[in-house]
Amino acid sequence: MKLVDNKTSRRTLLKSGTALAAASIAAPSLFVRKAGAAVTVVNDPGDSPTVTFGFNVPQTGAYADEGADELRAYQLAVKHINGEGDGGMLNTMSPKSLTGAGILGKKVEYVTGDTQTKSDAARASAKRMIEKDGAIMISGGSSSGVAVAVQSLAQEMGVIFMCGLTHSNDTTGKDKRRYGFRHFFNAYMSGEALAPVLAEEYGKDRKAYHLTADYTWGWTQEESIKNATEALGWETVEAVRTPLGAGDFSQYLTPVLNSGADVLILNHYGKDMVNSLTQAVQFGMRDMQVNGKQFEIVVPLFSRLMAQGAGDAIKGILGTTNWHWSLTDAGSQAFVKSFGQEYGFPPSQAAHTCYVQALLYANACEQAGTFYPPDVIRALEGFEFDGMGNGPTLYRAADHQCFKDVLVVRGKENPTSQFDLLEIVQIVPRAQVEYDPAIFGGELGPYEV
C-alpha cells in the first residue's frame, strides 16, 4: 500500500491547503472580542449553553493521591454549581450570587490536565486546556513551583488561574499576578500562627535547627518561621537546604545531633516530610534531652493525606493546616457531608481549597454578570465572604491572597479512626496573621492583556 498517491498533483495539494486555511479562519476563534470594547475574552462561551473549566492537578507522580482528591472536590463543585447533589457549601456561602443553575445560565463542564508536579508539564497542560479544550478558567496544583509557573502563563494568556495547594509567600508575593488568586494560606501566616503556640508549649529560650526543601516554598517557609520564632526569642542554630525528594535524609539529620539545637524544624512537605520526620524519630530525636530540655520536632505545614505515611511518627508533632474536616462550622460540615456521602471518606485540605476556589470563581462571574476576565477579577478583588470553612474571609485586592483564620494542629496521640490523625490545638484569628502586602514586593500587572 502506498502512503502517497502519485496522482495527487501539486495543484490539488495547494487547493486543499487553501481550503483548510479558509476553514480555519471561518471556525470560532480562541480569542473573542467583547462587544463594544477593544478587549479580548479567551474562550468566551458566547451563545453556547455550556462553559468549560480546566482542572490542572497532579494525576501522576508523587502527589497523585492529593491530585485525585482535588479532582474529586472539583467534580463536586461543578455538580453543586449546576444545581445537582445537595448543594454543599452553596447552602452556607454568603454573600452569594450563584443560584444553582450554572453560571449566567450556562451549565459548567470541565476538562482535566496532569501537572505531574512539574512546572513545565503543568504549563503545557494548562496551555492545552486553554488552546484546545476551550477552558475559560484554570485551577489546581499541589506545589508552589507549579502555581508560580501556571500563574505567569495565565497572565500571558488572559485566563484566570485559581491556585490549588500552594503555600509559598512568593505566589502572592514577588511572583503575584493579576490573573492569579490564592485561597490557601501561606508560609508567613503559618509562622505567625505557630510561633506563639511554640513559645507557649516549648518556652522562649530555644535553639532551632531547620532542614529546608530547596525550592521556592521551602525558602519562604524557612524565612517566615525563622522570623516569627526569632521575634519570640528563639535562636536559629543552622538552616540547611536539602534536595527535593532526597529519600534518605540521614546525612542531614546526623549533624543535628551535635549542633546544640533543641528543636528541629522540618520545612518539608509531602513525601519529604514523611521521610525526614520518620527518620528523625528513628534517630531518637523525640526521646533526647538537649540543653536540659526535651528535644522537639516541628512540621510547620501539615497535610493529613500525606501524614498518613508517617504513621506513629506524627503523634504529638505541632504544625499548621489550612483546614481540617473535623471543623464544626456550618460550611465545613456541609462540605464534609457532601464529600463524605459522595466518596465515603473525608476531604483533605487540598480538596477543600480547590472546591472553594471553583465556587468563588463561579460566584464572581455570576456577580460580575460576565466571563470577561478583568470584570471577574474586580469581582474577586476585595470580596468578603463567610460560610466556607475558615470564618469571615477576605480576598485582598492588593495581592490576591485570602485572609482567614489559621489552624494550629497536633498529631493525635489516640486516633479514634483511620482519618483521625490531627487534633486542632488553636484556631488563630485572621487578625493575627495579616500583614502589609508591600513586605513581599511584586507587581500584579495589568487587568487587560
Binding site: 507522580g61 508523587a62 502527589y63 497523585a64 493521591d65 543552622e238 540547611v240 534536595p243 525528594g245 529519600g247 534518605d248 540521614s250 546525612q251 542531614y252 546526623t254 549533624p255 545531633l257 551535635n258 549542633s259 513525601k271 514523611v274 521521610n275 520518620t278 527518620q279 528513628q282 534517630f283 531518637g284 526521646d287 533526647m288 493525606l305 500525606m306 498518613q308 505515611g309 508517617a310 504513621g311 506513629d312 511518627a313 464534609v336 457531608k337 464529600f339 463524605g340 456521602q341 466518596y343 465515603g344 471518606f345 473525608p346 486516633p415 479514634t416 479512626s417 483511620q418 482519618f419 483521625d420
Partner: protein, 338 residues
C-alpha cells in the same frame, strides 16, 4: 570527632544499601551482559513484599466510629491480636523480618519470569535496546504498584525492640549522647551478611565456580557440556532476591512508595561504573566508598565551603573515575578503555 564518627557510620549504612543494589546489577551484567534498568524496580518490589505482608497480617475487624455520620470511619483491630492476644501483637511487630519469608520465593519467581519471559530475548541486542526495554519494564512495574497500593508512602515500622537508637558513642568511648538508630545498624549488618553470602556462594560452591567460569569465558564452559544459560537464569533470580531483600529491610528506613526504585537506579549505576562494570568486589567497594563520601559531603562544615557539594559529590567522583580510570576501581583491564 563525634561528628566524624557519626558521619562515617552513616556513610557505611548508606553504602550498605548502595552496595546491595549494585551487587545484583553487576551480577546480571557480569553473567548475562545485560544492562538491567529494571533492577531498581526489583528493589521496590521487594519493599512492597513487606507492605503486602504487613497488610495481610493486619487484616482487621472494623469497629465503626459512631460519632461520624457523613462517611465510614473505623477503628481497626487486627484479627491476629483478637485471636492470639500478645502473640498476635508480637507477630505484627515483626512484620518486616517475617516479610523476608515471602520476599525470597516471590522475588525468585519474579526474577526467573523476567529473565525467561523478556530479558533473554535481548541478550544479543545492543545495550541501548536493553536499556530501553528494561526501563520500560521498570515503568510498567511501578505503575502496577501505584494502581495496587496508591501513590502515597506507606508507613512500615521496625520491631519495637529495635525501633529506638543505640548508644554507639559509649561503645567506642565517645560522648554518651551519641546515638544511631538500631535498625540502620541492623541494615548495615544485614547488607554485610548478604554480600558475604553471595561471595561465598560464588567462591566456595561448585555452582558458583561454574558461574564464575562462565562469566570469564562463556563459550569454553558451554563446550564442556554445561548448560550455562540455565545457570545464568538462576543467577538473575538470585540478583532479584538480593535486590528484593534489600528493599524489604529498607522499608522501616524510608516509607516505601511506587517510585522508590527509580530513586536508587541512577545511583546504583554510578556505583557500578565507579566500581568497574562486571566487578563484584568493585561494586561493593564503590558502594561503601560513595556512601561515606556522600555522608561527609553533607557535613555543614563542608557545605559551607562548597555549597551544593552534597548533591553532586557522587557524580563528580564518577566523572573523575571515567576520565582517569575508565574501567573503574576494580574493573578488568581493557574494559571500557578501548
Amino acid at each position: 570527632m563525634d561528628a566524624i564518627f557519626i558521619q562515617l557510620l552513616n556513610g557505611l549504612d548508606k553504602g550498605g544499601a548502595y552496595a546491595l543494589i549494585a551487587l545484583g546489577l553487576t551480577l546480571v551484567f557480569g553473567t548475562l551482559g545485560v544492562v538491567n534498568f529494571a533492577h531498581g524496580a526489583l528493589f521496590m518490589l521487594g519493599a512492597f513484599c513487606a507492605v503486602a505482608m504487613h497488610q495481610l497480617l493486619n487484616i482487621s475487624e472494623k469497629v465503626k466510629d459512631e460519632s461520624i455520620t457523613f462517611f465510614e470511619a473505623f477503628k481497626e483491630q487486627p484479627y491476629l491480636e483478637i485471636w492470639f492476644g500478645d502473640t498476635g501483637t508480637a507477630i505484627l511487630d515483626y512484620a518486616v523480618p517475617i516479610s523476608i519469608l515471602l520476599a525470597i520465593p516471590v522475588m525468585l519467581v519474579i526474577g526467573l519470569v523476567m529473565e525467561r519471559g523478556l530479558i533473554r530475548h535481548f541478550y544479543r541486542r545492543s545495550h541501548a535496546e536493553q536499556i530501553l526495554v528494561t526501563f520500560g519494564l521498570a515503568i510498567v512495574l511501578q505503575e502496577v504498584i501505584k494502581v495496587l497500593f496508591g501513590a502515597n508512602p506507606l508507613p512500615m515500622s521496625a520491631p519495637e525492640i529495635v525501633s529506638g537508637s543505640a548508644p554507639v558513642g559509649s561503645w567506642v568511648g565517645l560522648g554518651s549522647g551519641l546515638v544511631y538508630p538500631w535498625w540502620r545498624l541492623i541494615y548495615l549488618l544485614f547488607s554485610l551478611v548478604v554480600i558475604g553470602g553471595v561471595f561465598a556462594f560464588l567462591r566456595f560452591t561448585t555452582y558458583g565456580m561454574v558461574v564464575r567460569a562462565g562469566m570469564y569465558d562463556r563459550e569454553t564452559v558451554g563446550l564442556l557440556g554445561i548448560n550455562i544459560e540455565r545457570r545464568f537464569t538462576i543467577v538473575f533470580g538470585l540478583a532479584a532476591v538480593v535486590a528484593g531483600l534489600a528493599g524489604v529491610m529498607y522499608t522501616p528506613i524510608v516509607p516505601p512508595d511506587y517510585h522508590l526504585g527509580m530513586e536508587f537506579l541512577v545511583l546504583s549505576f554510578v556505583v557500578v561504573v565507579v566500581g568497574g562494570m562486571g566487578s563484584l568486589p568493585g561494586a561493593v567497594l564503590a558502594g561503601f566508598l560513595l556512601g561515606v563520601l556522600q555522608s561527609f559531603a553533607s557535613m555543614n562544615e563542608v557545605t559551607q565551603l562548597f555549597p551544593g557539594i552534597d548533591q553532586i559529590i557522587i557524580y563528580l567522583v564518577a566523572v573523575v573515575v571515567l576520565l582517569v580510570r575508565p574501567r573503574g576501581l576494580l574493573g578488568r583491564k581493557g574494559l571500557m578503555e578501548t
